[in-house]
């Protein structure tokens, strides 16, 4: 669905610029998730289900609070609970709301071969347009955060939309609206960075020396950011990558190799054409045919001769 109030910065598998004259004057948007304020109530998961009309299967317990166990095409956000014993021997319960990070340089969009299946709006939101999705799973291959999920029912990829439909009409995402502790905030990216900076100062005063903002530069920054108590150890938060970037393999595959390969194929065909028009075909002359026929006849005669004289 093309949202008229959101102009498009990038569109998957296209070669020309998209309509992007209108840009948010206040800059791009961002969701800020303050992990240190999260109590793990999963209201955000519920709000996401309600707004997006998603109902995942009721699963089973694995002995931890994570439920559902993983992101699925029906669960676009999942609370990840990690138990961490810090250097003082105290237990820290680290709860991270997992979901699409809305990268400024989205690996999914880079990898996507279906025109218009993945868009990045000028406000920074990366959205899947499932009606154009072909179900190949290249977005999964391209994503540094393991977020997109392919439905077995309709063979299309799904993930958090950052409530692009709500944002388009001036509302905050559903998870933000519902969060009871204010751990999830939404605004312009600049505002969210300031908000985070204040919070980080606060956390440092409380003894979290390595508190910091997670806005990884390797993917150009993200439009979902975290305040982490241990920004130096992002991995503690259920394997959040410390320095995510689009894999070199994906960059090679969907970068330089594309124009080079097409040029190589075109060159081979054109080289053939010019070889034909310069050197010309390799033909058998009538004289050569006669000479060959003579050889065959000779062989036949000598064979017949030897057959007659046993």
């Amino acid at each position: 669905m093309a949202l008229q109030s959101l102009d498009i910065k990038r569109l998957s598998a296209t070669t020309l610029p998209e309509p992007q004259i209108r840009e948010p004057a206040t800059g791009t948007v961002a969701k800020l998730i303050d992990v240190s304020k999260c109590i793990g109530c999963k209201a955000c998961q519920t709000a996401c289900m309600e707004w997006n009309d998603l109902r995942d299967e009721v699963g089973d317990t694995t002995g931890v609070y994570d439920n559902p166990r993983d992101l699925t095409e029906h669960s676009w956000t999942v609370m990840r609970f990690s138990e961490y014993e810090n250097t003082e021997g105290d237990l820290e319960w680290l709860i991270r709301k997992d979901g699409c990070m809305h990268c400024e340089d989205p690996g999914c969009l880079k990898a996507c071969p279906a025109p218009g299946a993945i868009v990045q709006y000028t406000n920074g939101i990366v959205d899947f347009h499932e009606e154009n999705c072909i179900g190949c799973g290249y977005c999964v291959t391209g994503c540094p955060f393991n977020v997109p999920r392919i439905s077995k029912k309709d063979n299309r990829a799904y993930k958090c939309t950052l409530c692009s439909d709500r944002v388009a009409v001036g509302q905050e995402p559903a998870c933000v609206k519902t969060c009871p502790t204010g751990a999830i905030m939404f605004g312009t990216k600049e505002d969210m960075k300031q908000q985070a900076a204040e919070r980080i100062v606060d956390l440092k005063e409380r003894g979290f020396q390595n508190a910091g903002l997670y806005d990884p530069a390797g993917v150009g920054g993200t439009h979902v950011m975290y305040v982490l108590h241990h920004a130096d150890k992002a991995n503690l938060y259920h394997g959040l990558p410390q320095d995510p970037k689009i894999s070199a393999m994906v960059s090679l595959w969907k970068g330089l190799s594309k124009p080079l390969a097409l040029a190589g194929i075109a060159f081979a065909a054109v080289a053939g054409f010019f070889h034909y028009t310069r050197v010309g075909p390799n033909e058998v002359t009538e004289a050569e045919e006669l000479e060959a026929q003579r050889e065959v006849d000779e062989v036949r005669r000598s064979r017949e001769a030897s057959d007659e004289t046993p």
């Binding site: 598998a13 279906a114 595959w253 390969a261 081979a268 053939g272 050197v279 060959a292 026929q293």
Partner: protein, 218 residues
């Protein structure tokens, strides 16, 4: 040696003909060729957005995603049978090395200067083994990136590597086939070998003299 086929067949000009490929070999070749064309075009659609119009060939993006891997399996099996049929004709020998050293003569139609060759020349043999390697790599990497049935068995780094391998080997194969098709157009009389099954005595003697001698029992 008995070679009854070269004693009776004639083309419309009256030139004697030799059977180069049997009906089974031709069918095998063309199944491989048709599946290759479908795969190359649908694969290019997924490879580069400039080629995305080729999605229409198999009926759109979803159908391309569904059919491409199955057609790929058909091509692999068909090519495998073809490769086993022709494998023993493709061993490289000393004359082939000399042939490659004189590639300039090859390109400029100075065939009389080249060492006499058998059923296949060095270029054909090298292309044969290039195709064998490409097909094996395409099958293996293709399975890894077949999202619907197999990708979830593999770690993400292997999937990413397989995507690159699939693209690179497909590129090599496509360029190889362009060379293959061009060679058939360039060396007149070759196409009949795969469409009608026969070549003229003159063609065989000129391009594959050792094979010609062997076939006529000289």
């Amino acid at each position: 040696m008995k070679h009854p086929e070269h004693t009776t067949l004639r083309d419309v000009k009256g030139n004697g003909l030799i059977v180069r490929y049997t009906p089974n070999e031709r069918t095998n070749h063309w199944i491989t060729a048709i599946t290759f064309v479908l795969l190359a075009l649908s694969g290019l659609a997924m490879f580069h957005p400039a080629m995305a119009w080729l999605y229409a060939l198999l009926g759109g993006g979803q159908w391309t995603r569904i059919l491409h891997p199955f057609i790929g399996c058909v091509m692999f099996v068909s090519f495998l049978i073809l490769a086993l049929r022709f494998w023993h004709h493709n061993y490289l020998d000393k004359a082939d090395m000399q042939w490659m050293r004189q590639f300039d003569d090859v390109l400029n139609n100075r065939e009389d200067k080249l060492p006499p060759i058998g059923k296949y020349n060095a270029g054909q043999k090298l292309l044969f083994f290039t195709m064998v390697i490409c097909l094996v790599l395409l099958l293996l990497s293709g399975i890894v990136i077949w999202r619907r049935y197999f990708s979830f068995y593999f770690p993400i780094e292997i999937i990413r590597l397989a995507a690159v391998v699939h693209a690179v080997t497909a590129f090599v194969l496509i360029v190889g086939i362009i060379v293959h098709i061009y060679a058939a157009l360039w060396v007149k009389g070759s196409i009949g070998a795969m469409t009608r099954g026969t070549v003229t005595y003159g063609w065989a003697r000129k391009h594959h003299p050792n094979w010609f001698k062997e076939t006529i029992g000289k």
